[in-house]
């Protein structure tokens, strides 16, 4: 069962990443790109957890946590740049 579900889920996430990237390429505005990037980060978090299940190792969990954290920081910074220019004024 798992043998089927994991590849399927992986495929879904993979497809999601591709779609995100598509949006990132298309834009049209910078905000769209930030959104796409943010979504990529979130999807990658999911992907890492999935990979952990797939490889049956829990060591990727921290990486997932960190991706979530760092993705957030990146998004904040990019948005702040659009809004204010200087992100740590």
């Amino acid at each position: 069962m798992l043998n089927l579900a994991i590849p399927l889920a992986l495929a879904c996430i993979g497809a999601a990443l591709l779609l995100n990237f598509w949006r990132l390429v298309r834009g049209p505005g910078p905000a769209d790109r930030i959104l796409a990037l943010d979504t990529m980060y979130v999807n990658t978090t999911a992907l890492l957890v999935l990979l952990g299940i797939h490889l049956n190792r829990s060591v990727y969990f921290e990486a997932a946590l960190l991706i979530a954290l760092m993705g957030f920081v990146g998004t904040v910074a990019l948005c702040k740049y659009l809004l204010r220019g200087d992100i740590i004024e």
């Binding site: 069962m1 798992l2 999601a16 796409a36 999911a46 829990s58 969990f61 948005c79």
Partner: protein
Amino acid sequence: MLDLLISFFLLIGGAFALIGSIGLARLPDLYTRLHGPTKATTLGIGGILIASMLHFGAQDNGPSVHEILITLFLFTTAPISAYLVARAALHLDRQEDGDRL
């Protein structure tokens, strides 16, 4: 049985993540696109995290609960990201179209 449950959550998660991204890809403007990632993707990852909890919890080194942490974290930050993106987009649009609002 457990496998079934895990698989279910995995598939739910994967599907929602995909749906969120589909929304991001095909919806017409930024504000509508925002909805996909903020909601569907969040749930998607939630599903996968539950699956992970079940999967690792079932193994012999005790319950696996730290996935909750990611969930919590994502649920705290995703709305802010969305808010900021929308805020930025509004700001940019206003520049272009004058004060629409």
